[in-house]
């Protein structure tokens, strides 16, 4: 008998979650209500069964989240009876006197790093588990599963610790912090195959629904909401859409889709010619090294 590739990916992720629980004093799981972090929660149930999770969940809330994602988050946490910490980006902005960007789609993504670093200091977290995957973006393709952040929260991509076999070095100096990415080797399609196999529920946003959107000049479908400045020149259309990623309402685009089941989404992805973040994130496209620059500043 030989393990299926999904069994291998699952086993590897559970191994990393248990290493995190064993090697660190105060880990936390960064939970966004998106599909990747929902999969992480599912993996934690398996990793620590029948006990409760040995760490809390934490959501860095931009205040621009989709209501569907927040509802789902709260329902899931209630069902699990796990501890959820929420820290608001808005609070950081008030404290630091930062104003929302004067932009048509005023993303708060850049400010999330501040709130995250404040929360790490507040709770003294030494490891933050995240759902990032290497196939998402070319800077992430370079990152270790145990990825060190220096005392200022920065990632140093040109001098990473060698990560040999599955031996993960979680030793930290005072003030350093570890980011842990158990889904590093999963692709978008792997995540969906796993959701299908494990019958994992997701926020309704991921499935096809009618939505009123602005169609940008680049063809992105942006949700019309209270944070977005709609001008009379905008092309506002109602389409059948779904979301491939669930981030800030102000910088996450919907994709035109009629896929209303997991199986249909998998079929759609197999023939899609556009990458996940390319289709949906207008913030990565600002510059060629958008993600690397943000990670160097302490981003997830």
């Amino acid at each position: 008998m030989s393990m299926d590739y999904l069994d291998i990916l699952e086993s590897e992720a559970i191994y990393m979650l248990r290493e995190t629980a064993a090697q660190f004093k105060r880990p936390v799981l960064l939970f966004s209500g998106g599909k990747d972090s929902i999969c992480l929660v599912h993996l934690c149930k398996k990793a620590f069964f029948p006990a409760k999770f040995p760490f809390p969940l934490m959501h860095i809330d931009t205040g621009h989240n989709f209501p569907e994602a927040l509802e789902f988050r709260d329902a899931l946490v209630k069902e699990l009876e796990e501890n959820l910490i929420v820290r608001m980006v808005e609070q950081t902005m008030v404290n630091k006197g930062i104003k929302d960007l004067d932009h048509k789609f005023p993303s708060r993504n850049a400010f999330q790093s501040f709130t995250l670093l404040e929360a790490i200091a507040e709770f003294n977290f030494d490891a933050c588990i995240g759902g990032a995957r290497r196939d998402e973006e070319k800077a992430r393709a370079k990152e270790r599963v145990f990825s060190l952040r220096d005392t200022t929260g920065k990632w140093n991509p040109t001098n990473q610790r060698p990560e040999v076999w599955n031996i993960v070095n979680g030793f930290l100096k005072e003030g350093e912090n570890m980011r842990v990415f158990p889904l590093s080797n999963w692709t978008e399609l792997d995540v969906w195959a796993y959701i299908q196999r494990e019958n994992i529920s997701l926020p309704s946003l991921y499935f096809a629904h009618e939505r009123t959107c602005i169609k940008t000049s680049e063809g992105h479908l942006m949700n019309v909401n209270e944070f977005v400045k709609v001008s009379p020149l905008d092309e506002v259309i109602t389409e059948r859409v779904r979301y491939r990623t669930v981030g800030d309402m102000t910088c996450t685009a919907a994709v035109k889709s009629s896929a209303s089941t997991v199986a249909q989404i998998i079929e759609e992805l197999k023939i899609s010619k556009i990458s996940e973040r390319g289709a949906t994130r207008i913030d990565d496209r600002i510059s060629e090294t958008g993600m690397e620059d943000r990670k160097k500043e302490g981003y997830f």
Binding site: E10, A139, P157, V164
Partner: protein, 405 residues
Amino acid sequence: MKLIRLFTAGNVDDGKSTLIGRLLIDSGAVSTDIIQGLTKANELGSEKSEIDLAFLTDGLKAERELGITIDVAYKYFSTHTNKFIIADTPGHWEYTRNMFTGASLCDVAIILVDVTIGITEQTKRHALIASILRVKQIVFAINKMDLIKYDEAVFEEMKTALLDLSYKVRIISPTVLPISALKGENVVHKSAVFSWFKGPSLFDYLENCPQEKELESTRMRFQVQYLIHANKSIGYAGRIDQGDFRVGQALLLLPKGQNLVIKEIIHNTQSVKLAESGSAVSLYFTNEPEIKRGDILTDLEKPPRIGNQFTADICWMSEANSDFQTNYIIQIGTRTLSAKLVCIHEKRLENRTISDNLMLNDIATVDMITDTEVVFDRFEDAKSTGSFILIDPVLFTTIAAGIII
């Protein structure tokens, strides 16, 4: 679907990143917006007008500016039968440690050789690392065949030299293929320019690779990773390194030397009778033993060795040289303890004499001594109990990786 992990290695400019770019694009794994992004990225520094395939994997700003690969990039693609994880490893001598990182988990090594240059020091070094890491399938891809007009005689001559090198570094029956990564010849598709070549394309070769199976051995190994306390009992969580574990089976707990019987196995929240090698499980025992993280459960017939001395092949990964005084932290799987280097036997393949210390990227056979007794295997008997890293006791950086021989 099988999962196959492979890495590409070879000298700088032998075309590693280009080859991966070619594999990804020709097999349809790359999205169109990313290909457009490559064209945009090229305008930043390079004056080349056509898409630079290497930019698919060289994801860091510094890499693009310098035009080299600094760290491993992981890329993924799937076919109907396989999911591939590709580690694109750096060719520069300075980044050998990153190459070692990328190679460590792989089933397949693709070592590129530039046919116009031939075997270099880096070719030898990468072949040696692949051999030390016991990579099961090693392919030498002789690249840039377009530059010598796909000449069979030149290929055969280089093949002979590579088989000779393989013999020296103890690689058994490698595969040698002619390709042109730039032109896409014999990478994904068989090609008319190589009508004289009877072997498969690189892609066909990869498609037919067997998934890594643990060594055909009766040895059972389980390292305790984490203790799960619930319902007044303790589950010993870990991933089965090798062997199939069954309820009712007698095991040996090391280093204590106590005999135990498996009462229950939990796999994915279910109680199961049997769990196979590679599964993440938790084990329960009838007699409530005292077990901690780092303890090892094995079969009774072929248990690991216990002692405080062993010999290992190590790759030194730190800018600071080694010495015989420092108490390094040694991490073997889930165990950490203290260890010293006591003897450097030989530096493998380097044209340097034996000295008193190891320098960055040295590969050497050494003796180590630990402060307390440790359970270990020879790497070829059990990978996870036969491999380790050394950690700097002050800076906590990973400074070496080793294989017990």
